[in-house]
Every structure is written in structure tokens, then in C-alpha cells.
Symmetry: C2
Subunit: 353 residues, 2 copies
DNA sequence: TTGTACGCGTTATCAC
DNA sequence: GTGATAACGCGTACAA
């Protein structure tokens, strides 16, 4: 009858280790945290006993005393349908986890359906002290979250550069290069009229890609158009229908802001009797796995999202640790040419000059 | 010089509220938690002061004293590439969050690349006391996680029924109905040889769908084949290539275990000169948004994944609260017929009988 | 209603 | 340099 161990054994605390080692709680803490001031032999003994007892730190207790949560937050604000088709977040999260897990940090994920509840979610994460910092994705024009997060006393890292003053380090992937490469690729193929099916215009990366697209077209002397969408396949399809409706004015190539819309665009074109890339070249963005497995396979712009997540996590952890950090830039996006883009069709003969 | 408020104001604690209200900490706690034994007027006054001071509970402190984390865990174990194309988790998470957020609970997400690190992740979540319970998705044959989770003292809910004894409630969606409906639909269209491109055979839902497929085919007297994959577009494409390689023996219809593989399958078929659905009918599974926007649009099996997430969250919260729960069953999967399935091609004349 | 111990690890203060 | 002691963080719970 081992009195103190009735039923399930109580998990060992630092006090148990201390008692067993015949030292004080404080010393055990010092030993376990690799801090100076502990005799080497004593430290070894303490560590051995901790291991033997199966002790492991209780984040709750540690959190309370250190005033840190050892967790980072990511708030997703997208329609369910859109986020479901978006390969970004799963990959980003995988990269984040690769860094957080060894660092003993956890990822707290919140998913909000509407803009309104987004600020509340950050406020709640902060007031409940759930997280030490947050990842700011999908930056918007004049993003109010920057001030909010700062006023909440949270650390943060932005994915990309905000268009307003920011107190937080930015980790960016230059996707402009990918846009330019796409336009150049199409221009080299003889296209003289290209459309861009962009994402939501309040999204900074969408508007920047749109602007880069226009600049690139102008540099090459190419007629261009931009259509805004909400990133959904549905709106990608609608935009495509509108663009190709008038055979006389339709572009010979369309670049989309994501692969899902590009796939929908291919479908609309084919349904309208256009061959891709014979009559219409199509380029995506994301280079999702499916891009290389559709027919025609999809030319798309690739970025290393996993690495982006990892870099963002490292930066945020460093910021929380108090390091002053410069913005960092990852490998730029690059174009992966496949079958959906090809030579521009010969000028139409059916339009009398 | 407001001495006690130099720089950033310290966040108010329950002690501040107590002092301001001229009562004890304990009474404030009772008032804030809506527990009986507090004079109505006093309670009102305490709540007013708490609001005025901007007090909000600190989960860390609450966690330490209640021995609860107020957080639930979800461990994703899939290749980055595969999870990126999978619409399940974003939708599932959206549903989970819909329940957790109002309940003051957080979702802790872990993402592990390999099987080996999966058990460690659960162990860590438990030993650090990060979460009170976990969602068990992607059940496997003889899933070792059930025993592990139980031994770790965590609560859990399984997504679907395990094939071994389980201490946890299951929340399931019957996808068998969807499989049967698919086979019946194809049989009604005259198909007499159907293949199933299944997911990983150790995944319970994959093997169960496979078995259901075979039973449904046998019931209708239809020749059938099952090919296992890892759920990736690549293997979906490979499986399709193998299936259609021999024109004499190829099936006239293929059902896939997810939409991504089905899209890859359509591409392989078209590339091989087969028309879909003219020569080959194709059905997917998941009914992702893109399914209705490709050409031909994809017949697929739909389930309400958001609702599944919400139900699983409710069940897990109830289990943590100590309720004894029965397994629950959500609305079954149903087939959404689109263009990628059609009448079986006429029997080949080029094969001399 | 109050007072106070408690949960568990961290850290500042002291003593040898 | 080694180590002990005690206070602290914040909310909960129980005896008084």
C-alpha cells in the first residue's frame, strides 16, 4: 500500500525533484534551466532525478510566473470556402511548426468568419494572455491591426511589408519578381493583350501584384486590364467569362492571383470553345501540387511557403526574446512554366482593319 | 506624477477589483463566475468595477488553479503537399472555432511531418499541460493513439468510429452512403466495370470506403478494382495511368477518394485521348469548391465538414466537462452529380468476341 | 463574506 | 561559487 500513490500517480512537480535530491526548489529550477550558480555535480544529480521521476515543466505554472505564454497566435480571416481551397495556410503552418515545436512553443489558431470579429479575436488572445505574439498575414491597405496589436502589447511579425508605419519586423517574399517573370514570359510568346485576375483589392499583396503587373505590361508595351475578385473559384470564373465574352477585345493571356482561379479560368475558356493555350494562355499563382497534374498543366508562380512560415516563426520568437530585428527577405517567387501558356494566337483575320 | 502608473499601466487583477470594491478576492471570484452566495447588489457593484477597470480573466492563472488548460489540440500528420491540397482541415477548423471561441477555449494546432514524431507531439501536449483534450482525425487501423491518449490522461473525441475499443466518444459522418450512391449512379448509367482510387489503406476511412465500394459493386454485379494511394495528386495520376493503360481491360468509370486525385485523373484521361465522361466517367470525393468550376465539372461526394468540426468540438467540450456521451452521427455524405459522370460508352467493337 | 492556503515554477534576497 | 528561503504571478476553493 503505497499510500501517496492511490490510483493515478500524481505528476511530479519541481518540489518532488527537490525533495528527492535533497535540495531546494529554487536550485532545481536553476539546474533545469541551465543557469549558472549550480555545482556541476549537483546539477547532474538533479537532472538525473528529474528524468527518473519523469518530470516535465508545466507550461501553465511557468507561464504564470514568467508572464509569457510560450505560444504564438495565427488568426485566419477568410471565408471557409476560400480558405479551404487555399494551399497557403497549411504549408505556412507546417513551416511555423517546424520552428515552434523544438522551441517548446505552441501555435494557437483562431479562425474568424468576418472582419468584425477579427479585432475581437486579437483582443481576446491578448487579454486572456493566450499568446506572446501573432503572425500578421494578409496585410491590408492601412491595416488597422498594426496599431491594435501594438496597443495590446503583443509582439508580431508581418508577412510582407505594410503600407503604414509598423513597429514589427516584416518577413517578406518578393512576389513581384514572379509577376514580372510571368508578363515577360507571355510577352516573349508574342502576347500583346494580357489581363490580370487579381485578388481582393484591399489586400496589400493583391494590389501590389496588380500594380506590378501593370508596370511590367507598360514596360513591354502591352495592353492590359485588371479585374478584382475575392480569390474564390467562382469569381475567378466570372471574371474570365467577362474577359473573354467579346472575341474582338479579349486578351490572349490571363494571369490569375491563385491557382484555383486559374483552374476555373481554364474551365471557362474550354467551355467557351477556346483552347488553352492555343487561343488563350493562362497562368496561376501558388504553384499548388495540382498545378502540375491538370491538363493542360498550369504555368504558375511558386514561392517557398513552408520556408516563409519557418522564417516568420524564427523572427517572431526573436522579437519576443527582445532582439531588435531587421526586416528580412526570402527567396523571391519564381515562374514555373508548364503547358497552359503558349505562343499568342495569330492575329485575328475576321476583324476588318 | 501618478506614481503607481509609470509607463504602461499594469493590467488589473482580481485583487485590484477587490480592493476597489472593498471586498475580498474570493468574493470577486465568486461574483465574476456567477456563483451563488453573493449579495445581488454587491455582485453588481463588483461587475461594474471589473468592467470599469477593464479586468479580464488571465487564462494562465485560471489554468494553474483549476488544472485545466481551456484549450483543445489538433495534431495534423500529413505530408505538406497533401495537406495543402486538402480542403478538410481548414473547413473542420472553421467549425471547431465556431464552438470554441464563444466557449472561451482556444485551439492549439500541431503539425507533424512524420509518423514517428506524432506520438511525441501528443505526449508533449499532455506533459506541458497545453490542452485538455484532442481531436483524433484520420483514424488508422488498430490506432495506437487511442491507448496513448488515454494513458496520457487527455480527453478526446474521434472523427469516425475506431476499429478497436475506444474510451472516447466518436462523432461520425457516414460516407458509406456517398460511396454507395456513387456506385449506384454509375451503375444506372450503364457502367459495368468501375475502379476505385482509394486513399492510404491504413487509414480507416479509406479502407472502409474501399470495402463499401466493393460491396456496392458486388450488389450491382459490377466488375471492380481498388488501387491504393497516399491521397496525393501524383499518385492519383499514376493510378489512373495504370488503370487506363490497357484499353481492353480499362474500367469505364473511376471513383477517387478525394477531388484532387479526381482532377488529376481527368487530366490523365484527357491526355490519353479519352473524353470525360464520354469514354471515362470520373467521380471525386469532398466536393471542394473547385469541383463545380472545372471542365467538365466534377461529380463528387459532399459532407458538411464545418458542421462536423462544430459537432466534434461540442462533444469534446462536453466530455471534458465530465458528461457521459454517446457516439453521434451527422448527416450522411451525399452525391452531387455534375458533368464528369455520364453514360457508359458503348461496348467496344474493336475487340473480336 | 473573509482570510488564506494552494497550484507550480521563477527569481530576488541572503547566508555560508 | 553554492545553496536556502521566501515572495510572486493570479485566480480558485475551503475553513472559519
Amino acid at each position: 500500500m503505497d499510500e501517496s500513490h492511490v490510483g493515478r500517480t500524481r505528476r511530479p512537480t519541481i518540489a518532488d525533484v527537490a525533495q528527492r535530491a535533497g535540495v531546494s526548489k529554487g536550485l532545481v529550477s536553476f539546474a533545469l534551466n541551465d543557469r549558472p550558480g549550480v555545482n556541476v555535480a549537483t546539477r547532474r544529480r538533479i537532472l538525473a532525478i528529474a528524468a527518473e521521476l519523469g518530470w516535465s515543466p508545466d507550461v501553465r505554472a511557468r507561464s504564470l510566473s514568467t508572464n509569457r505564454s510560450f505560444a504564438l497566435g495565427l488568426v485566419l480571416q477568410r471565408d471557409t470556402e476560400i480558405v479551404a481551397g487555399d494551399p497557403f495556410f497549411p504549408a505556412f503552418i507546417a513551416g511555423v511548426e517546424r520552428e515552434l515545436s523544438p522551441a517548446g512553443q505552441a501555435l494557437v489558431l483562431a479562425s474568424v468568419p468576418s472582419h468584425g470579429r477579427e479585432a475581437d479575436t486579437y483582443r481576446k488572445l491578448a487579454s486572456e494572455r493566450r499568446v506572446d505574439g501573432v503572425f500578421l498575414a494578409d496585410l491590408r491597405a492601412g491595416d488597422e491591426r498594426l496599431d491594435l496589436i501594438e496597443s495590446l502589447g503583443l509582439a508580431a511579425v508581418t508577412l510582407g511589408h505594410p503600407d503604414v508605419a509598423s513597429a514589427f519586423p516584416a518577413v517578406s517574399v518578393d512576389d513581384i519578381d514572379g509577376v514580372i517573370a510571368t508578363v515577360d514570359h507571355l510577352a516573349d510568346l508574342g502576347h500583346r493583350s494580357i489581363a490580370h485576375v487579381a485578388g481582393s483589392p484591399e489586400m496589400l499583396h493583391a494590389s501590389r501584384r496588380g500594380a506590378a503587373f501593370e508596370r511590367a505590361c507598360e514596360r513591354r508595351g502591352i495592353a492590359h486590364r485588371v479585374v478584382d475578385t475575392d480569390f474564390s473559384a467562382r469569381q475567378g470564373a466570372e471574371a474570365t467569362r467577362a474577359l473573354i465574352a467579346d472575341a474582338a477585345t479579349r486578351p490572349t493571356a490571363i494571369c490569375y492571383s491563385n491557382d484555383v482561379m486559374a483552374l476555373a479560368g481554364i474551365a471557362v475558356a474550354q467551355r467557351g470553345g477556346l483552347s488553352v493555350p492555343g487561343d488563350l494562355s493562362i497562368a496561376g499563382f501558388d504553384d499548388s501540387e495540382i498545378a502540375r497534374h491538370v491538363y493542360p498543366s498550369l504555368t504558375s508562380v511558386a514561392t517557398d511557403v513552408v520556408e516563409w512560415g519557418a522564417a516568420a516563426a524564427r523572427t517572431l520568437l526573436a522579437a519576443i526574446a527582445g532582439d531588435e530585428l531587421d526586416d528580412s527577405e526570402l527567396a523571391p517567387a519564381h515562374l514555373v512554366v508548364r503547358e497552359s501558356t503558349g505562343a499568342a494566337p495569330a492575329p485575328r483575320r475576321d476583324t476588318p482593319s
